[in-house]
Symmetry: D2
Subunit: 344 residues, 4 copies
């Protein structure tokens, strides 16, 4: 029974049936790269979704989406403000350094991996403008964050206001953007107000291997879009059968399937969170649950057939774990795990 | 009827049914990235195929495969010898420069985009070894070439011998490797004797979005494999649901489906070549047919429902075109085009 | 006596006494980097010289000057048109690839290493604008060229006109700019009309280790100057005692010492050219003399105490050599070599 | 009188007379680049100095020296452990990112900008070895540090031991190496035991524009030296008249002039430190004095003709300043400043 109730990550979940159907529907020759009919529908689809003009390009991974957007905005001698525990800082193998040709990540603080206008200012205000110091050119926030926290529209807007005032671009790593919108319950356009570029994640939310770089406002200027398109090719991310990527994205946007999937994952996480109670290390707002868990407790759960990643324990705790649900988490598995946690 | 008989490229063809079946079979959660059961079978599968120890990594595109292999072999201050019309020189948007951090492509000559020990030596012999000149570190050949020509095992071996003598790595861009082997009719291991790294193409041959970097001999040393694995992550090419890429590759290797597909494409091209006769600009050995074609003739073909890319005409010819077949070229379309060409 | 009459290169000549005097005059503490009084005089000095607003930054080498200017103008995914034998292509160890993060050099043809609007167009017209091809962003010409040829103001203007029409930047590698102006006998401003960035060489013309990047017109916009200044620091070329570089440059600009020095070198070369007669491989317009020379003849000259670099012989010639004079070539040595050549 | 008693930095001091003499002695044509007689003496000179085989290359700046050494040791996907306030992290405009093609600086803690085996381990122990995390490849320490602290030979040895155990290279940024050795009073060889590459600074210690990259042990292997030599050219740091750089270095090594100069600077700093007493923020071991200083006090000193940089005040202090002495600090100025500080 072990290994069949996995809560490692949403990034390995199966592909949604509607996505499969769209992939099969795309299975006929069309123009190559992004010249096909499906790829050409992306701009309109995201414009509809967000209620503002949007330009979108597909890529296979969130790392590529994040890094192409950032590299288009930040010169090699510039810097990107992000949280100390942002995915781009800790888990992308140095990809931002590769794509930007060596730009520096400027680390800011904040509970739950959320940065604030105050913490951003604290990071960049001491930077003299001279050539000896790397100057910030962009801010990158993760929505929902690496600890499953969600920025409210007001919080995003406050950061966007700071970005505008300082002449910085604002990027949102939305690997779990759907989970954030599902939590907030508002229009997706409200969540990106003031954002220049969004990495909109689909892989963790029912897709197979497609994410979207979505550009808004001044980031949609021809020169910027051309930069990203050329860098995408140059990075080997311009797949010749791009229609299969566009098909995934369109299938998930259709009838807000992305939102339904995210809600399902969030609901599963909420069920686990309720069971975890005072063990929770962070409020659970998306599909990730961080909880304190002694080694013996973790072993007990694993003995019952659950598996998950151990996590760095907070000070004073004997151990910790991360549980991640997904769009297709089996309700019976989730309920069983919730019971098992409650029974610890 | 127009636009339904497309001979633009094999890189947009549909996905083979066996690949679809394998994709569906992979549709359950497994370890992420390349830790899944399918990805872990790749080394053995290629070792079996080539009859020598092989290490393989999947990526989504041929550009990524080529550039990761080259970047692992060539320092930023080094050079790569390739044909003046090699894909890495002309059609990858500068991707080798990105991945290698600025290494130089050293251009060599040769009919049909095939380079030879003689033309390679002509390109590198004048290079003084001092620091003012970029030194060659690798040779890259395309099999089959950009003009649909095929290197014989003896020709590859001669280049490999030169590479060894000069201390250079040998890379083979095998975007159409299957077509070359199908043409040669020999064991695939003979075609890569002396090759250090092969970009084995599946996208043009029945796949959806997966190619393999296959390493042999000294290129399989742990440090080299680790370099490529880290650069793959850093380039955003480590897909979290890698099992879907491995599945495609394994499906095409199974029962030599890759070879059957390539044979079908080659046969279609041969049928067109026979019709083209003296119009042929290059012997047709793979799935590409380059022929002289006056603008009025091209228009006549297009009026009959065929479409294809115009090509640069050789001196004295009024025009030219490139026709590319694929694993699934419709025999009726091919026969119709052959008749139409013969009737010009 | 051998080895004392060296005609290898002007790049190792002694430092002019006026430069020494300026260096000593600068030998007191001032603000660091380029904040000192001398560095702050450069813009005005070059504005005076060229008769148009100019912004200037010092660096230690011509390679750094060329590459910083090019990297400020050309994105990593772009290209730079230059002659097939341009210094940036053949003799800078791949520095343009390093500074530009992998931009491609697009090679054009032309006698004497001079490119023309026609040869530039021949190189770039076939480049489709799509993302698969590297697009040109700049043109770089060498004045005087690697073969000692000089572009007339009309020739520069014609290239500048093409650059403007195509939306390309125009860079001039002026490692031997002084020799070109000395040959042309016109106002230096005429020689740079339409040029965006000039690498003005002083090292070969009486300096110790200082060259200037001189920016004109739209290249003087604050964003471009800031880019170059930051890239200079990032490349380790912002020397803390920059006053010693500025002092060299100002000393050579003062009273047109740069021009007097260049005239002296050109005159010495002209004397050798007259002796070489029909041996000349290129018209001698600057301080370099390329001549056919059989191995036995070269040996004979060396036996008389002269030394120089052998060169690649043109077709049909038994051998060749390059002779380079300098601002301080000893008239007796030059006369002796001229006699020796004439006597061959 | 204002502005004549400057304590901003040692990096703008005048050039030592012995260096001037050596520069003039080098003022005759020799082989270019580093083929001249003086450049060829560097290896022997540093081997003598350190009592172990050494290979040395000149460059113009400490930034170039640091970054070339690090880039030779660390792949683009690797990391370099350094102090949070190391010069390479805070004051080189992102140069390490440029030279290494995007490697990451991994920040460690330590009082006075000194890192320890414990703080290094704290920084790297949590790094999982997988491809998602950037792996450390080198450690860089500054001797003396950015706060004028000195590593004892035992402290360096302990870090070297850790480096060896973890398979990391050890680099020492010795912009003020002389000041450290002067403070320690031991043989310079003891200070670099276990160090692979030293950036030996001369600019702050009587030179004009020359530093040395000094390689020891396995860093002297031909492949590594060749890498650095090629990267130096590629970075535009291979000056054609390299003899003028070698001359500076040799003049300062001769009769341990570097050490005498450093002792003079240290003595001046010690005099200021004695006056500063309890104001000192760090023990004064080299030529830098950090002291708390209220704005009114700073103004009072400036009114007396002294100038210096303000510094970030420690918690609870109203203000702070940095005073830097140099090899040629005027004893009268130093004494005057010491009196003025004592009188505050």
């Amino acid at each position: 029974m072990a290994r069949i109730m996995l809560f490692f990550s949403d990034n390995t979940a199966a592909v949604h049936p509607a996505v499969w159907a769209a992939l099969h529907a795309a299975d006929q020759s069309d123009h190559g790269y992004d010249g096909d009919a499906l790829s050409r529908r992306l701009d309109a689809a995201f414009t509809d979704l967000f209620g503002q003009p949007a330009t979108a390009l597909w890529v296979a991974t969130g790392t590529a989406a994040n890094c192409l957007a950032l590299a288009a905005m930040v010169p090699p001698f510039g810097g990107i403000v992000c949280h100390r525990e942002a995915h781009i800082e800790t888990d992308e193998g140095g990809a931002p350094g590769f794509y930007t040709h060596g730009a520096k990540l400027i680390l800011a603080e904040g509970a739950g991996a959320k940065i604030t206008p105050h913490s951003i200012a604290a990071a960049i205000d001491p930077i003299r403008p001279d050539v000896h110091r790397v100057q910030p050119h962009a801010i990158s926030i993760t929505q929902s964050t690496e600890y499953g926290r969600v920025y409210t529209p007001a919080e995003v807007a406050a950061i966007a206001e700071l970005a505008r005032a300082r002449g910085l671009w604002l990027h949102m790593d939305g690997a779990r953007f759907g989970n954030a919108v599902a939590h907030l319950g508002c229009h997706p356009g409200e969540v990106v107000a003031g954002v220049d570029a969004l990495s909109f994640g689909f892989v963790k939310n029912g897709g197979m291997g497609a994410e979207a770089i979505v550009l808004f406002g001044r980031a949609r200027e021809a020169a910027m879009v051309d930069r990203i398109a050329r860098m995408r090719k140059r990075a080997g991310h311009l797949q010749s059968k791009g229609r299969y990527l566009a098909a995934q994205i369109l299938a998930l946007l259709d009838n807000d399937l992305w939102l339904a999937n995210a809600r399902a994952a969030n609901a599963a996480a909420a069920e686990l969170a309720a069971a975890a109670g005072s063990r929770l290390m962070h409020p659970v707002e998306a599909d990730e649950v961080f909880l304190t868990l002694a080694p013996a407790e973790a072993a007990a759960l694993r003995a019952q057939g659950f598996d998950f990643y151990d996590w760095t324990a907070p000070a004073g705790a004997p151990g910790a774990a991360r549980l991640v649900t997904a769009w297709n988490s089996d309700p019976a598995h989730v309920a069983a795990l919730a019971r098992a946690i409650a029974a610890l």
